[in-house]
Symmetry: C2
Subunit: 269 residues, 2 copies
């Protein structure tokens, strides 16, 4: 059985204490360099493989400071501090000796405690009742996902008028389907096309500058998601002089909140 393109894209080769060798993956290419979501998944994978790792991911912040070119790069994932139930990490992705992407992460041991989702998933039709979006002709990474938009799909006309909303809601999963794990969940957080294109459809240059993920998922809620669709909802809070920020949420079909994802992006208009 051929492995899933996702597993090939996040493959890491141990390269000394805290270091891993990685390769960019054509199927997850984006405008400039790799899809940000696959980069997040690679960071998660490096920590998961680390012999000192404790617990499961709780947060991840990545700065996209410079582009990664096609080819090999080096990942450094090192625990900065390990407490009784939390572990803080430093992360760096470097190419040709220069750090291009860097950030930090929090892992932790979850414990029995009163728990409750507060943010309810929006009321939407089930994915079976929705048409599959056509991602062909777009960046390669778009075709790695099956997307069924409820609201705010790909712009069909670049009219440049203010639509008054940056909201998108969709059902989404890996294509071909693949059992959800922390890495693929991190990648799925980044499937939303640039919010300025939704709010004011002009094909202007855009890019994620900083990404912060908060994981609510546990091994149990990941297993309940399995290969099924996740419900995603995203909105920008504001567009201000070249920069905007946005918050996305992903739930499994059972309505469990799995991830909150925040980004700052630049845009030209």
């Amino acid at each position: 059985m051929a492995s899933h393109p996702f597993d090939a894209a996040v493959r890491l080769r141990p390269a000394g204490e805290h270091f891993y060798g990685a390769e960019t993956s054509e199927p997850y290419g984006n405008f400039v360099g790799p899809f940000g979501g696959i980069t997040a998944a690679i960071a998660v994978r490096a920590m998961l493989l680390h012999p000192l790792r404790r617990g499961i991911p709780l947060s991840l912040t990545l700065h996209f400071a410079a582009p990664i070119r096609d080819g090999s790069f080096l990942v450094r994932a090192a625990p900065q501090r390990t407490n009784r139930s939390t572990q803080h990490w430093r992360l760096e992705l470097a190419q040709d000796g220069a750090v291009a992407i860097f950030g930090s992460a929090l892992w932790g041991v979850r414990r029995s405690a009163w728990s409750s989702r507060e943010l309810e998933p929006p009321p939407v039709p089930q994915p079976e009742a929705l048409a599959r979006a056509d991602g062909s002709g777009r960046e390669p990474c778009v075709e790695r996902y099956e997307m069924r938009f409820v609201e705010g799909g790909f712009p069909t006309e670049w009219h440049g008028a203010d639509t008054g909303s940056s909201v998108t809601r969709l059902w989404v999963r890996d294509d071909p389907p693949r059992p959800l794990d922390f890495g693929s969940l991190a990648a799925l957080s980044d499937v939303f096309f640039p919010r300025i294109w939704r709010r004011r459809p002009r094909k202007v240059p855009v890019g994620t500058v900083v990404m912060t993920l908060h994981f609510h998922a546990t091994p149990e809620s990941l297993a309940r998601a399995g290969e099924d669709f996740l419900l995603g909802s995203i909105q920008s809070h504001g567009f201000r002089e070249g920069y905007c920020d946005q918050t996305a949420h992903l739930w499994n079909r059972a309505g469990e909140l799995l991830l909150t994802a925040h980004q700052v992006a630049y845009y030209r208009q």
Copy 2:
């Protein structure tokens, strides 16, 4: 004229390239160590003072990996990469040679571009129509702020029942009033008491583990805020096995979005 306690609390002494000496400030003390908001303000101040700084703050992430004890500590703020319009930073706060708090930041040069707030401030009464909350008997940092709650004020009874909501809305400003700047805005993002106390009022141990701020403010919108109240709104997305996350927004009275603030906190229940 005596200086404002905020200015005293964020005072930094240059201590070699990228380094600044700092002191904890009793008026901004919290449960364990300094108020997280004042720590964020100190980080902003270190970058503001740095001779290589470009632009204004766009994002800030801080990991509270270990407590800072009363006394002196060292701040390291170093540009990791400076691009044409963005600058990425590494941050560390260390005491007795050990890093206690660390993180990263993004600064940038804003440019003329189509701009719009998307997130509307909630409809609320003006602060003059609301009673000032009594913060006496709480942690010292609470008394540094004038808070007028619209909804979700300090718990008055620790009944432990699920209130079904973690929402708090309030008008807030420095006490005594002080013209808003990027540092005091960062500090104001952290004035919200722990969300688990709002959702299910039991006086359980809580603490911020990671904080991420996205700045929408510009020098112009800060000036329009001046010494006036900001409107703050916060909600948790979910409470899951010992960890919860939350998103807050701050607007000036003119309705301009100034800041989005995200946190992961631990809680015991």
